[in-house]
């Protein structure tokens, strides 16, 4: 039975909105030029590839359903499990189902702690018991593990390299076909110069990024067939699985928050700048008031209230996943309501400037309605500000989720997210010997996601901010003025 969670619906709404945006871009020459500049930026292209992988995982994880129970219930009615699974869960089913009892180190074959084991002859000894799944195929783990792991890693690397070579060849062949050029010449041009007039797309960065991802992913895939590559958590779940599931939570918070704040910021910002007078005064008053409350506190207050609301109405949700999902949605709404002021301020300033320009004045004189002036003449000229601030805000929101979950006002504790992983890791770090792998996994995945988002945001800003295209010298990363300072909040 398919389940449409609230955030899923909004995620797909967002995908739809992006399609509309892509269509707008395809029709507008200036926007197309901007994206071409992003594509010709090597770092921008590489980070886009990484982001695309994260987004693909997040989208797969957004297709939810409830599996049917095997025994049909009374009267032939099919009963559905209370577990809500996603397509990603199906794809990585081995990761999800092969659970250990408790902690085990990455690639381990024995448990992390000694347990009292009953020998067949009746005697009891304290030893590290074998894992149920990790390295279970090995006859003699003490000697066989190292060679087995080495072989699998080497095989995975080879496989990854082969896949990368295949992909690059096919891709270059496709480019050669489009350009009607010889394969060898195309390969040479892709490798040497990437930003010429004929090939504005930085294919070299694209192919390198894909290759690196393949080379990293293949060994992990091979190893994870028989081991827990990143170890297991306290209740024996594979940490790799937890990390993959966390990606959706981060993406949802980063994108849906933007979706929530966009209408407020755009409508109020343009209205304030365009109409001036008492409208401007009122809107300025509202956002100054919201801004003067420290955002952590505002978010904390909001989440606490939602918590009370949910606790006192226990019958509201059918499954625990729906409950956690509602809380995630509300968190996005609260984050959006606390964060729209910055963009609103920027748009107000821009609208104040634009409304005095000749072409807007001319439209006025022709008797064009306010609404039409705003939609046809103002909004298209502010699109770049909205775009840049949406992209730049993303990484800050991903980081904020972790902090908020730690403070206790983030996602539902049952929801898998980087914040909850880090939170659990605090106690694990205090153990002796230390359980370091969940923290390391959260660190690695978050760094990859946030770094890619930051680099992509820089590329987008460089491409779309008119100020930075004027004076672009060397590798200078354009002025940060526009979207303000990020990573400061929380």
């Amino acid at each position: 039975m398919p389940v449409l969670l609230w955030t899923d619906a909004l995620v797909f709404l967002l995908v739809g909105a992006l399609c509309v945006f892509a269509w707008t871009c395809a029709r507008s020459e200036t926007l197309r030029q901007g994206w071409r500049r992003v594509a010709s930026n090597g770092i921008g292209m590489a980070s886009a590839v990484v982001l695309a992988v994260f987004v693909a995982i997040g989208l797969l994880d957004s297709l939810h359903f409830r599996p049917a129970l095997e025994k049909p219930g009374e009267g032939g009615k099919v009963a559905y499990s209370v577990d809500v699974l996603s397509v990603l869960d199906l794809l990585v089913a081995p990761l999800r189902e092969r659970r250990e009892r408790t902690y085990s180190a990455p690639l381990a074959v024995v448990a992390f702690q000694k347990e009292t084991v009953q020998r067949p002859d009746g005697s009891q000894v304290r030893e590290f018991p074998r894992l149920r799944h990790g390295g279970a195929h090995l006859a003699d783990p003490a000697t066989g593990r190292a060679t087995d792991v080495a072989w699998r890693t080497a095989g995975g690397l080879l496989l990854g390299l082969a896949a990368a070579a295949l992909f690059c060849t096919a891709w270059i062949a496709a480019i050669a076909r489009v350009r009607r050029a010889a394969f060898r010449a195309t390969a040479a041009s892709v490798w040497h110069d990437s930003g010429d007039a004929q090939a504005p797309v930085h294919w070299r960065a694209f192919l390198l990024a894909v290759s690196v991802l393949l080379v990293v992913a293949a060994p992990v895939l091979l190893l994870s067939m028989h081991y827990h590559v990143l170890g297991t958590s306290k209740i024996g779940q594979s940490v790799l699985y937890l990390s993959l599931k966390s990606i959706r939570t981060s993406l949802v918070i980063g994108t849906l928050t933007t979706l929530v704040l966009m209408p407020f910021a755009v409508l109020l910002g343009i209205a304030a700048g365009y109409f001036k007078g008492w409208v401007d005064d009122l809107i300025q008053y509202v956002y100054t008031t919201i801004e003067s409350i420290p955002s952590v506190l505002l978010i904390a207050a909001g989440v606490l209230l939602i918590q009370v609301y949910m606790e006192t109405r226990p019958g509201l949700f059918e499954t625990s996943a729906q409950r956690a999902d509602f809380r995630l949605l509300m968190l996005c709404v609260i984050l959006g309501l606390a964060n729209w002021t910055g963009l609103c301020r920027l748009l107000r300033g821009e609208a104040l400037k634009l409304r005095e320009l000749e072409y807007v004045q001319a439209a006025h004189a022709f008797g064009v309605s306010h609404w039409r002036i705003i939609v046809r003449h103002l909004a298209p000229n502010m699109l770049h500000i909205v775009l840049i601030s949406a992209v730049m805000g993303f990484s800050g929101l991903v980081l904020a989720e972790a902090v908020l979950s730690y403070v206790g006002v983030g996602v539902d504790p049952s929801m898998i997210s980087f914040g909850t992983m880090i939170n659990d890791a605090r106690l694990e770090m205090a153990r002796e010997p230390m359980v370091w792998w969940s923290l390391a996994a959260a660190f690695g995945f978050m760094l990859a996601l946030v770094l890619a988002a930051n680099l992509f945001a820089d590329a987008v800003r460089d491409a779309f901010d008119p100020r930075s295209t004027v004076r672009r010298t060397g590798f200078r990363i354009g002025p940060a003025r526009l979207a303000g300072r990020q990573g400061e909040g929380a």
Partner: protein, 325 residues
């Protein structure tokens, strides 16, 4: 000057009223005091009498805005709105839900909070400006590129990793500083060392990059060319001219940090066990003590507005062209 200050302060009044109304609406109108009581007492198996008792003990049993049962002025003063919200304006925070005087707690915890927030702020500003000037001095060299890359990587790491990593390395592995805790007087210094250093490092990436762009913007100005034409050394140009002219954008950037000066150390206080306002807030959030959270929201806004006014005043100090008119 005095007139300007007065006008700014008067301007703050409607904003504080707005904050006050907003928090009141959030805390008493989205969920009724009954909901709060049920939450605190456990959702199931709670009697109406227990809820009434809980509300009476904490003064939530009055009507919201108008008390029809009272006479004269008390019709409006003997209400939840007056008790819980209007009294905040004279910094009468009332009692927390577990019966402690919030005002006293705040006074006691202010010291430790400032002891960590101020050094992070002042030393951090100094460190970031120095690092940014260094990058600008070596602009368009490999060093600058490496610095910018390092900044982007540093700002992509969550502050929590800096804290956990720092605590592990410095306190657990190298045993250089105590892992957490606090003491009064001069004994607090060893406890503050680690949080202050980590606090500065955590902001290094974003801030250095920010100041670097400000300085680079200034480098393109004509007075810089004039200064070079005069034959000044690059160091003199940077420190004597660019730094002074960049003061205004730097100050504007500092405003952004002021609210986190008060609560940015929320995480740090909690991780390092410092009994300040931040850890007080986290404890209140975890205990779902709404009275404390409400008080902190109001206090936070007051401090933010005070910070804004101070920043405006300091504009005149760094830039003689600014006049208060």
């Amino acid at each position: 000057m005095t007139a300007y200050l007065l006008r700014r302060l008067l301007y703050a009044v409607p904003i504080l009223i707005g904050v006050n109304l907003l928090t009141f609406a959030l805390f008493f109108m989205v969920n009724t005091p009954d909901d709060m009581a049920r939450m605190q007492l456990g959702v199931k198996r709670v009697t109406p009498e227990a809820i009434e008792d809980w509300k009476r003990e904490r003064g939530y049993d009055k009507p919201l805005f108008v008390n029809a049962a009272a006479q004269g002025g008390a019709r409006f003063t003997d209400t939840i709105f007056f008790d819980k919200s209007v009294r905040l304006f004279v910094f009468d925070f009332g009692f927390s839900d577990d019966g402690r005087d919030i005002g006293r707690e705040i006074r006691e915890r202010m010291g430790p909070s400032l002891a960590i927030a101020l050094p992070v702020f002042v030393l951090g500003l100094f460190a970031y400006v120095c690092a940014a000037l260094l990058l600008v001095f070596f602009r368009q060299t490999v060093l600058d590129l490496a610095g910018v890359v390092a900044c982007v990587v540093l700002m992509s790491v969550s502050a929590m990793f800096y804290i956990i990593g720092g605590q592990y390395l410095v306190s657990k592995a190298w045993r250089l500083a105590p892992i957490s805790g606090f003491a009064d007087g001069a004994a607090m210094v060893p406890f503050l060392l680690l949080p202050v250093v980590i606090g500065i490092v955590a902001g290094l990436g974003a801030s250095t990059r920010w100041y670097r762009t400000i300085f680079l913007d200034e480098m393109g100005r004509e007075y810089v060319r004039t200064a070079r034409a005069k034959g000044l050394s690059e160091m003199r140009v940077l420190f004597g001219h660019v730094l002074r002219n960049a003061m205004i954008p730097i100050l504007t950037g500092v405003v952004v940090v002021i609210p986190s000066l008060f609560l940015g150390s929320l995480l740090f206080e909690s991780f390092f066990g410092i009994p300040g306002l931040g850890s007080y807030t986290i404890d209140a959030i975890n205990a779902q003590d709404f009275a404390v959270v409400r008080a902190m929201v109001f206090l936070g806004s007051v401090l933010y507005i005070a910070g804004l006014v101070l920043t405006d005043l300091s504009y005149a100090w760094v830039d003689p062209r600014v006049r208060f008119s």
